[in-house]
Symmetry: C2
Subunit: 464 residues, 2 copies
Amino acid sequence: MDAAEFRRRGREMVDYVADYLENVEQRPVYPDLEPGYLRSLIPNEAPLEPENYEDIMKDVERVIMPGVTHWHSPYFFAYFPAASSYPAMLADMLCGAIGCIGFSWAASPACTELETVMLDWLGKMLQLPECFIAGTHGHGGGVIQSTASEATLMSLLAARCKAVRRVQPSNPKISEAEILSKLVAYTSEQAHSSVERAALIGGVMIRKVPTDKRYAVTGDLLKKMVDEDKAAGLIPFYLCATLGTTPSCAFDHITELGPICNEENMWMHIDAAYAGSAFICPEFRPLLNGVEFADSFNFNPHKWLLINFDCSTMWVRERADIIGAFKMEPLYLKHENQERFRSLKMWFVFRMYGVKGLQGHIRKQVALAKEFESLVRADKRFEICAEVIMGLVCFRLKGSNELNQNLLKKITKSREIHLVPCQLSGRFVLRFAICARTTESCHIQQAWQHITQLTFELLQEPSL
Amino acid sequence: MDAAEFRRRGREMVDYVADYLENVEQRPVYPDLEPGYLRSLIPNEAPLEPENYEDIMKDVERVIMPGVTHWHSPYFFAYFPAASSYPAMLADMLCGAIGCIGFSWAASPACTELETVMLDWLGKMLQLPECFIAGTHGHGGGVIQSTASEATLMSLLAARCKAVRRVQPSNPKISEAEILSKLVAYTSEQAHSSVERAALIGGVMIRKVPTDKRYAVTGDLLKKMVDEDKAAGLIPFYLCATLGTTPSCAFDHITELGPICNEENMWMHIDAAYAGSAFICPEFRPLLNGVEFADSFNFNPHKWLLINFDCSTMWVRERADIIGAFKMEPLYLKHENQERFRSLKMWFVFRMYGVKGLQGHIRKQVALAKEFESLVRADKRFEICAEVIMGLVCFRLKGSNELNQNLLKKITKSREIHLVPCQLSGRFVLRFAICARTTESCHIQQAWQHITQLTFELLQEPSL
């Protein structure tokens, strides 16, 4: 394919993309397929000779689209949102053309420098303490990661390195292996499984802190565990606090947790993967109070800030902690062998929306969640299972877990809307997350009508 | 930006991309800037109100382009290639529109399934042993990673987990921490720094095996180290062999190393990040002989197989080893919280080029390297420093390191071509890698003429 054909096919693809997104709500949101469906639809081997572009695009509709879960359908309410916007897609096209690998400043100065400045822009939107902003006299700064899991791992490893260096000099008889075997990391029992995996990779113990009635970790609950572990000869070294947990969007009490971590020489990492985007709104910013105690903070603009995957933003208080742990390029906190020009997406989106436009997006989606919450609350057969603070509503039919499992099965089977469940205090709960950028009030109303219709059918059935 | 404006701006961007790539050789390949140049060119904070798209595109030329190292200029000969092709860019546009996050089968069946089948297609192109192909009766399969570093880390952690499980039952008195403190990983002294980093993350010792005159690790050299370490009470558990090292594209002797690893219960991972793409050509496939002894194998189609970053392909012999180590989704070897629809790029590229087209690309670039090698060999002032097997030529002026450093400084300063150096046996060596898809014989001739002109000037200067 030469440049001339790319111009032609590129225009067609732009139209295909726009058509897809404009009409995605007419497709069933969830596929009706069995695992393994695809293999029989395409050859077993790559073709020897080039094929026609038209044939490939026909196969996109024949092979791919029937197997796609349409994350950008306004009827998609599962997981958390995957951000998508036209300015980000344009920036990604440019990123693909430049096609640099930004593993050092010289490998592409613009790539490295725009990233640092965009992380400052975003840090200022969130009113992060100055120590996290690179363009100040502090020692901190921000960097783009692929996922929140990666940021969690990096923070845990940096904390591990720091802990070993702190403990070793005062205990020269203890080997590094022994120190490692005494290190304990903490996180909420509600935290994402990636925290547990990070501890597994880092070879350290992890303890899950129980949560209060709002599914949040409090200072008391952490302090009790830390004291017990210290008494048992262990070395608490790391806390991953969550702002906006995956099951119910709960917020750990970081204003209480932070001082404990600081006092105990524990690294506090804050994972705000989903909720972090909302902190650009003054009315939600108080939920981030306590970040001033943190050593690192991360959230995913690729979830809720209209920047297409991947763009997980991480700030650290001391660049030196990360550099020391990973032997990384010191100047800009960059990995070796890593990464495209991802900051272009941030630049395009921030400028095309403006801060006000982004705030408007967050506020609209929170309002839609509140609208859905009201519908649920008005129906006495249902209950709300966790406080609705952001764009997630956890709800269930009053009754058994089995009843709710059956309701979800009906919903999934109907393929008109898509939800996933969670467990809260042993109860099977339905999660309704406002996801697509194009979700409007009419889709919420439609979804609720659909749910109540299926509920009506379910309650008519003879119970098993 | 609504769909209508996206259609318009998308067409403009397609043209911008095509124009950029058609004319990139007219831009200086390397920027003329000091670190920190960008911050003063843009505001300190994100705009409150939306800006015009035209202003952003003007800033792409004003702010970004002057700071770009143009990896796709035919005069770019630094590092290794970053793959780029029009079909991959079209697939990336589609990937952005679908915008799914494929962390489980249900999150997007087509995404998960196409990846598995594309890894089979590619594995068959490379004639990998059947045990690595998912669509067989074996227990192996392939998965896309972001980078070779990630694949190395994953293989080391899986090996660590397997080693602990193997050693523990027969040594019930030894704690896991003690076992970990005795584990030793091995890699070539010529290996990429990411192997050392993986060991650092995994908390295990790493030993660098010396290389022979061709900068390759042989069986004898490994065996000697392993025996010494075992005698010292250590537990050898992992080898990362390299096919195509970063400094000189050397090939470790995996037919010798494999049996040693199998005998010693050591995991053998093969990192063929750059050279792996060439194994689709029958004439280069013998270099992969020995892969039948490997537990895992990885290379980067995003380097040399015309598939834009990121696309690092990894195969494992036993899916269960990876699943056990990471508690991953068992069905398809997927990470949680991970990844776009990257296999679309593979599908588009394989079909638009065909295997023959891809072979042609590899052969053309190897021929260009041979052409450059001949030019160097014909000039008695220069020497070739390592066998030219793929698209990389290591060369230097006969004489001191300082002389060669000065030559490289002149080359970098002139900004007509871009190279980076390496160290081989303590000597400062220039690396000339065939990188851009559009590099032709004329660019090689031009580059050599430029180098000899600068050499002429250098040798005229009074020596320091």
